[in-house]
């Protein structure tokens, strides 16, 4: 598919349904988005000690994040250069001082460089060269950390991680700043949930405020009915009830869009709760001691719901989670749900984050199944002859333009989807500013519209 054909799929107010269903477009996304962008691999706390590793995916590639002898985090393709076997099994573990292939015992340092192969005399007179990259595990081209969050890019040139994250970095900052020492760690385990739908549907839904009270009617009604019977609305029910807010509530929310498809959505919960609810009060006292009252108020007052780091997933700073989105196929998406502990914060802060993870983001969530159901229906409906386009019309032309993106004038705007597809277009076309040889970021055409 050439650039002209790809460009024709994305219009300011609509996208062609094939972007969700066409396997050749999916393959191209793996190359041009996941092969170029900075993708979140994992948090460095997942590999605390030398040799500790964590396996995951960058697009269609199996990679392993590992802590080297020098304390640096490396990201390697999970492949032995001999016969191609995956060096480590799926999951987390410790490789020890070096990787050793289970097939023929070739060994590699923790940065992937070749260490040894048995019976070296057998290579005499051949082109075997331990110093050649051909005989080492290959590193993913670029790795950068942002406050402990490890990102990698498969492209050896292009903009740096900080520039790529842009204003969305403030959500990672806020997540970390909720710790009195400014650090978080992955804790409690990771849920892994499968969605039978295209990855982009999930990104769009993360800032889709118009679906909340429709798709989630069963869960917010259940929470409301239960609260009425027991005579109170504890945290466990409150977080299931939020989707039931009336349209007027969603219209007032702020949706912020940044370049490269990122953005955030304002929170559903009241930031001033810091002085009312006991968990927030304890947290506020702890942060006041660390940072002073004004700064503590700012930190807990940054009330964001889902943030989007396009290509990586959705951090949630208020409840310390990260839904990491891994596309597996055009109609299959894996979500890794990470939970963070704010180091040094009162234990109740972690308790609340754990409860949020269990009730909202786990496979047994009362809320998520209805999302997953509508994603699947979109995936299947878009394969019928019932029409070719997906509408993104809502509040088009009203979004307020900013130097680094745009902000909605109405919280039900489909700005986030339009922004994501503007980024998608930038990645996918040959003249993309994100290509290795086009380093200048241009204004995206839809923002200018």
């Amino acid at each position: 598919m050439n650039s002209e054909e790809l460009a024709a799929l994305i219009r300011p107010d609509r996208v062609h349904k094939s972007v969700y269903t066409d396997t050749s477009i999916f393959e191209l996304e793996m190359e041009r988005i996941y092969g170029r962008a900075w993708i979140y691999v994992g948090h460095e706390s997942q590999v605390p000690g030398t040799g500790d590793f964590h396996t995951t995916r960058i697009g269609n590639q199996d990679v392993v994040m590992v802590r080297g002898q020098d304390g640096q985090v490396h990201v390697l393709y999970n492949r032995c250069p001999h016969k191609g076997a995956k060096l480590v099994a799926e999951g987390d573990g410790c490789a020890g001082k070096f990787f050793r292939c289970p097939y023929h015992a070739w060994t590699f340092k923790l940065d992937g460089s070749h260490l040894s192969a048995p019976l070296r005399s057998g290579f005499e007179g051949t082109q075997y060269n331990p110093a050649s990259p051909q005989f080492s595990m290959r590193q993913v081209a670029r790795v950068e950390l942002y406050r402990g969050f490890v990102f990698a890019s498969q492209s050896d040139s292009g903009i740096g991680l900080r520039d790529f994250l842009g204003g969305a970095a403030s959500s990672i900052d806020n997540l970390c700043d909720r710790s009195p020492v400014g650090e978080v760690e992955v804790a409690g385990g990771v849920f892994r949930v499968m969605q039978p739908s295209n990855w982009k549907v999930f990104y769009e839904n993360l800032h889709d405020t118009m679906h909340a009270r429709i798709t989630h009617e069963s869960s917010f009604m259940a929470a409301r009915e239960e609260a009425e019977v027991i005579g109170e609305m504890p945290f466990e029910l409150l977080i299931q009830d939020g989707n039931g807010e009336p349209y007027a509530f969603w219209e007032k929310l702020e949706l912020r869009a940044y370049h490269h498809g990122h953005g955030y959505m304002e929170g559903i919960f009241d930031p001033n709760a810091a002085t009312r609810d006991p968990v927030s009060r304890a947290h506020f006292a702890c942060l006041t001691e660390a940072y002073g009252e004004a700064r503590a108020r700012d930190i807990l007052g940054m009330n964001r719901h889902n943030t989007i780091l396009y290509g990586s997933g959705s951090p949630h700073n208020v409840f310390q989670q990260f839904r990491v989105i891994r596309p597996l196929a055009v109609d299959r998406t894996l979500v890794e749900i990470q939970l963070f502990r704010c180091k040094g914060a009162p234990p109740e802060v972690y308790d609340r984050a754990l409860t949020y993870a269990n009730l909202i983001n786990s496979p047994s969530s009362n809320v998520m199944p209805d999302d997953v159901e509508v994603y699947r229906r979109c995936q299947e409906g878009n394969q019928t002859f019932g029409g070719d386009w997906v509408s993104l019309h809502r509040y088009l032309g009203t979004d307020h333009q900013l130097p680094d993106g745009a902000v909605s004038t109405n919280g039900t705007s489909e700005l986030p989807m339009r922004n994501q597809f503007a980024a998608w277009r930038d990645y996918m076309l040959d003249d993309s500013p994100l290509h290795a040889d086009n380093t200048i970021t241009s204004e995206c055409p839809h923002h200018a519209a």
């Binding site: 892994r192 798709t215 466990e236 939970l339 047994s364 998520m368 209805d370 997953v372 159901e373």
Partner: protein
């Protein structure tokens, strides 16, 4: 309180339980009835099997010690079980159209003994098949801690379901196991 750390999760009996043949049969029947109520989606009757202060737990990790430090696939008190049932029965539960159909096979029932509070610890095996759009099969070791009622019956204090694939990738888990 959902994360009440004083909740007694121990599955190691502190005293032996001596049950008559008839009483043992009563315990087995209780487990079979519980499975049947879930298979038949008689959720209101299923909710009534539980003690007031009770927990339904499906750990996320093998050998998980508690639901407080680590995430769980389910950790539900009465309020959350009731909320789940309300959602399952709501007319606009899109992901339950069609509903999840299920079949449970409970076997290998063994009485382990009594916990410090006198709850009967019962271990059993669950083979669970469900169908909604696709078929899914799950297998688990289940521990029930049962409270004797004055009428000679049982109430569930704890039901812990250890799935053989608790660390797997899951599609939605909408109904109780």
């Amino acid at each position: 309180m959902l994360l009440d750390r004083s909740f007694d999760l121990t599955l190691t009996p502190c005293t032996q339980a001596t049950l008559s043949h008839e009483a043992l049969r009563g315990v087995e029947q209780f487990l079979y009835d519980e499975a049947r109520l879930l298979d038949e989606r008689q959720y209101e009757s299923w909710l009534a099997l539980w003690a007031d202060q009770s927990r339904y737990w499906v750990p996320r990790h093998h050998g998980q010690v508690n639901p407080f430090d680590q995430i769980s696939l389910f950790w539900e008190d009465r309020m959350l079980r009731e909320t789940r049932v309300r959602r399952l029965l709501n007319a606009r539960n899109w992901s339950q159209q069609p509903v999840t159909r299920s079949s449970r096979l409970v076997g290998g029932v063994q009485v382990e003994g009594l916990d410090p509070q006198g709850h009967l610890i019962v271990r059993s095996k669950l083979h669970y098949s469900e169908y909604r759009l696709t078929q899914r099969d799950l297998a688990a070791t289940v521990h029930h801690k049962l409270m004797a009622t004055e009428q000679g019956g049982w109430r569930v204090y704890l039901k812990r379901v250890d799935l053989v694939n608790c660390d797997s990738i899951f599609a939605n888990l909408e109904v109780f196991l």
